[in-house]
Amino acid sequence: MSYFDVANSGFIYICVGIGLIIVLAAALYYLKICYSHALECGIEKSRIVEVMRSSVYFSIVPSIAIIIGLISLSTIIGVPYSWFRLSVIGSVTYEIMAANMAFSAIGVNASTATAETFGVVMFVMCLGITTGLIFNTFLVEKVHMGTTSMKNKDKRWGSVVSTVFMTSLILVLLVPIILSGSVSILTFVTSMLISVILTIIARKTGAGWMSSFTLAVSLIIAMASSILWTQLFS
């Protein structure tokens, strides 16, 4: 059997399907627990539903971008394992980098690889990122509880601290957006403007339901605008 005979075999589809059902069940169970606790905390049901609706709407478009990455990745490791890797744990950038690193370490490429190579590639891609997951089991709680206790010591200062992490993250992501060309920054600004406009409309008309759509609509219009900005400025 060749590399792609194994990589695209029906058996892998079955294994991947079972694996995904287990992860999906875990996510649904987690959702149930968080939902119940949000209600216990006194958050109104309508507000939780709004968060759920908003999360669904805005997740659709980036998920389509992941499918585009899946098409590229499937040319390296076949469709079913790409489907598995991108539905759980990984991201397009990591998976393509991991697959290519595994190939170069073995000294082959997708066209010269054998069925045995596929076995090595699968395990190597799995080990690279799964090793990181092991650290979650003993680091996440310490970090989380450390930052939470910092907040409990001084409520005012704790509120400032809680914004430090989010602001740091946005600053780090913002710099490549600002500096990687006019199309990127114009797409960013478009998204921001659409968001402001939608928020103002929602506030003026009293249409609170619009907040569920703000992120999704801003995302789609800003992504579409990138085509226009590319034609105008690239």
Binding site: I43, P62, L179, S184, V196
Partner: protein, 265 residues
């Protein structure tokens, strides 16, 4: 806290339960992730030797372990106990973090509280389920969809998903209202120096910057933290809690002790 005294940290039953659940889910996920290649290799008789796998994976592990640790340190304070499920379901930067930001904003809860932890959990779980369903649909319809998805316009738009996502989210993160009725004024003054540092680092080596964004976040957090503290103590950053008549800064916060007692209660 006096010198030499060990701080006793009280963990609420909710957090204890969520962290235990997260750890169980992580172990379960690791087993599932390993089971798929194991089953395939046994079925096709292509099981590689452990030595070969470790030799090939060493380069990846060297890169990804420090990255994983830096991501835990930088993203856990935002994701809370949902970090476990986020890491299991992947796409943290382009889906789970935006989901967390958006949930905090839409629910108007204060970050770092049990309320926000629960609401972030709802958003992350629902986003994971949505993504898994959409990708499954994409796989089923891959052949008919491929010409559309690989068309120039769609590929180009997909390249700009991050600026399009964070443009809308940045407004909420940079605004004065941080959720839960808490207003913090002038906190962005503290972001000026870290922003300059990041711009310089990006200009020095853009590839390294984008490859190790987790490390960049780790560099930024302490700088922003200490500048924020200085400005808060100097009275430049002011905080208005629900029920306050006016904004209060660290310099004039004589009632912090009672605030703390209330917060703990």
């Amino acid at each position: 806290m006096g010198k030499g005294k060990k701080e006793t940290r009280i963990i609420s039953p909710y957090y204890r339960r969520m962290h235990r659940l997260g750890k169980i889910m992580t172990v379960l996920a690791i087993l599932v992730f390993l089971a798929v290649p194991t089953a395939v290799c046994i079925k096709f008789g292509i099981m590689p030797s452990i030595k070969q796998v470790l030799a090939t994976a060493a380069g990846l592990i060297v890169i990804f372990v420090p990255m994983a640790i830096s991501e835990i340190l930088s993203e856990t304070p935002i994701m809370g106990s949902s970090y476990y499920i986020s890491a299991i379901t992947g796409n943290v930067m382009n889906l789970k973090l935006p989901a967390a930001f958006n949930a905090i904003k839409v629910a108007d809860v204060e970050p770092g509280t049990e309320e926000s932890d629960a609401i972030v959990g709802v958003a992350v779980a629902i986003s994971s389920v949505t993504t898994m369903i959409i990708i499954a649909i994409g796989v089923i319809l891959m052949q008919p969809l491929e010409p559309f998805l690989t068309s120039g316009g769609v590929q180009l738009a997909a390249k700009y998903v991050l600026p399009a996502l964070f443009g809308s989210l940045a407004l909420g993160v940079f605004g004065n209202n941080i959720g839960g009725g808490i207003i913090i004024r002038h906190r962005l003054l503290a972001a000026i120096l870290p922003l300059i540092v990041l711009i310089v680092l990006y200009l020095v080596n853009a590839y390294l910057y984008t490859s190790f964004e987790g490390f960049m976040i780790l560099i930024t957090i302490p700088i922003l933290y200490f500048i924020s503290k200085k400005l808060y103590k100097a009275g430049k950053i002011t905080v208005t809690l629900p029920g306050d008549e006016k904004a209060v800064s660290g310099a004039e916060c004589a009632s912090c002790a009672s605030d703390n007692e209330q917060a703990v209660k």
